[in-house]
């Protein structure tokens, strides 16, 4: 006879658990053709079991054509004091041409949410503090994001790029999609994430994608080198406030690519550095270059298992850690490229792929707008 040992009436060993990792998916149309959010929702929801309801999100590129020259700030507020303080701060530093609540719809499973606003802004440095006045626009925006996230209690900027946006929160992907009305946006690049937090809290700011300017990152795995990466980034003025490892990926890419001018492939070689034994086998020039890169950016190397998709206005990139400890599959149908944790998540939106393959460990798959697959 089975005893009712707790309210569910199950034996303690007869527990139901879905063994999970995070799930990620993304797509890009090389010609810049926009597709509705429905496809990426279907793709990420096919991998529902990879998450546990403690975080999901989407990034979409090309969604604000009417404000394509404005930085689109998406901000979440715990309370309205945070909103007041943030808006005063933004109005001092920017021409705020449009302010609105981020459109949401009532969703049964999303019972609580922060206050969610978006602002379309252009820098107006005249009234800015001296140390910000001469900054290029992108740096000016980065400083603004760090100041809001670090100094204003209860305010978090979760998207700050041009003509793109991130939408994220605590819930399963289907619920977050419904809540943020993802089906109503059209984009030429989409990424999506389904979170199963292991080491860090499941909160709205901790859901993926993580963004800065137009960089957006969705990640499955763990950045075990978080401490080293964080201290390294702090030397260059990055402030890590979002309580989770994936944040470093976003800032490392910004540091390596935007600030140091590395190309995407080289930046990926910094993050998923080849082993010394493999570097030693390379032809002279390549060996010297990679040795230099490892020495120069050693503290930017990411240790631990990861599959990552990162997007920017010009493309979508998928890559793995150097021993491939997390899944990633790439598919192509005509000018559409798809990248996901599972092939079935691609097949559900594009059943008859022209090609499908699994990238090699540490080898980025770079798909550029207007160019396609580049190597």
């Amino acid at each position: 006879m089975r005893k009712a040992l707790h309210s569910g009436g199950r034996h303690p060993f007869d527990y139901r658990k879905d063994i999970s990792g995070c799930g990620l998916t993304g797509l890009i149309h090389v010609g810049g053709k926009k597709v509705g959010g429905e496809a990426v929702i279907r793709s990420i929801c096919l991998m529902n079991e990879r998450g546990n309801g403690l975080g999901a999100g989407f990034a979409a590129y090309g969604i604000y054509p009417e404000y394509h020259d404005h930085y689109a700030f998406h901000v979440m507020y715990d309370h309205l004091d945070a909103r007041r303080e943030t808006e005063q701060f933004l109005e001092r530093l920017f021409a705020v041409d449009m302010t609105e609540e981020i459109p949401t719809r009532p969703t049964g499973n999303i019972r609580i949410s922060p206050f969610l606003y978006r602002y379309f802004v252009k820098p107006s440095p005249e009234a800015a503090p001296k140390e910000m006045r001469l900054l290029p626009d992108d740096d000016y925006v980065v400083q603004t994001v760090f100041q809001i996230n670090g100094n204003i209690d209860g305010a978090f900027v979760f998207s700050s790029g041009k003509n793109m946006g991130a939408f994220k929160g605590v819930g399963l992907p289907g619920d977050i999609a419904e809540f943020f009305r993802i089906d109503e946006y059209e984009a030429y690049i989409w990424t999506a994430h389904n979170r199963f937090p292991t080491n860090t809290p499941g909160w709205w700011g901790g859901a993926h994608p993580f963004t800065l300017l137009d960089w957006s990152i969705v990640h499955n795995g763990e950045i075990s080198s978080y401490g080293i990466n964080k201290r390294y980034l702090e030397m260059f003025g990055y402030r890590l406030t979002l309580l989770t490892d994936t944040e470093v990926v976003t800032y490392l890419l910004d540091l390596l690519i935007r600030k140091n001018g590395l190309d995407v492939h080289t930046a990926c070689k910094v993050l998923a550095a080849p082993f010394w034994k493999d570097i030693d086998e390379l032809p002279d020039e390549e060996r010297q270059a990679l040795r230099a890169v490892r020495m120069m950016f050693g503290s930017a190397m990411m240790n631990g298992p990861f599959a990552i998709l990162f997007a920017f206005n010009g493309g979508l990139v998928g890559f793995n850690d150097r021993v491939k400890l997390r899944p990633l599959v790439v598919g192509r149908k005509g000018d559409f490229f798809y990248m996901a944790s599972e092939e079935s998540a691609i097949r559900t939106i594009s059943p008859d792929l022209d090609e499908v393959w699994a990238p090699r460990a540490g080898q980025p798959v770079v798909v550029r707008l207007g160019k396609g697959l580049t190597s």
């Binding site: 096919l46 021993v323 491939k324 599972e342 092939e343 079935s344 097949r347 499908v356 699994a358 460990a361």
Partner: protein, 250 residues
Amino acid sequence: MTARGVFAIDAAGLHYRELNRRVREAVAAGRKDVLLTGVNGQYYIGDGIRAEVNITVEGVPGNDLGAFMDGPTIVVRSNAQDNVGNTMNRGKIVVHGRAGDVLGYGMRGGKLFVKGDVGYRVGIHMKGYRDQVPVLVVGGKAGDFFGEYMAGGVLVLLGLGPDDGRPPVGDYLGTGMHGGVMYIRGSVDPTVFGKEVGVVEITPADSQFLHECVREFCAEFSIDPGEVLTREFIKIVPVSLRPYGNLYAY
């Protein structure tokens, strides 16, 4: 009672729990041929089933296909994902496309044939059990850590497919291997060998096994076995039964 004919289940849109419940029900009712159509991503198909039954999968099955399986034959008409044949005990899985990472993890019996390429850590910790010898055959190419921590059983890699310059197998081949045997068709770059394995001569018994194994594999996929057997195989075995025996001993 044995039910005749093919019992079809339309898996389109079904959650894996519901799909697998229906499969188990069909098996319990004595069905011998079960056809799953419209499969896409459902996990755990055929898991833990102890019966003689043919399960045909149309569409891409989800992770952990045939885990803990004890007897059935599963034929996948397309690609498969990760963890196929996880800790499988008996039976056969045939994949007509490519498959993902970590195939045959801890496999202790039965056969797993994949026609195309496979990913990383294939055959990791395959082991066998008493007189059971699991056999995993890959028609295409394999990624890094092929046969990692292998403790028993047989891994065969044919490396067929277009000559695209990629080697048949990735780096860290047989790292931590301490039991079982691997056969790889063609040549392997010696720098990819893990520290725990070495190459030994093919014996007449090995050739006999390979002939039978390749013939069975080729019959599944209508490949000409004569063509496949024209190239030599190399045989890889562990050089130590306890490669890490001294690792933590001071």
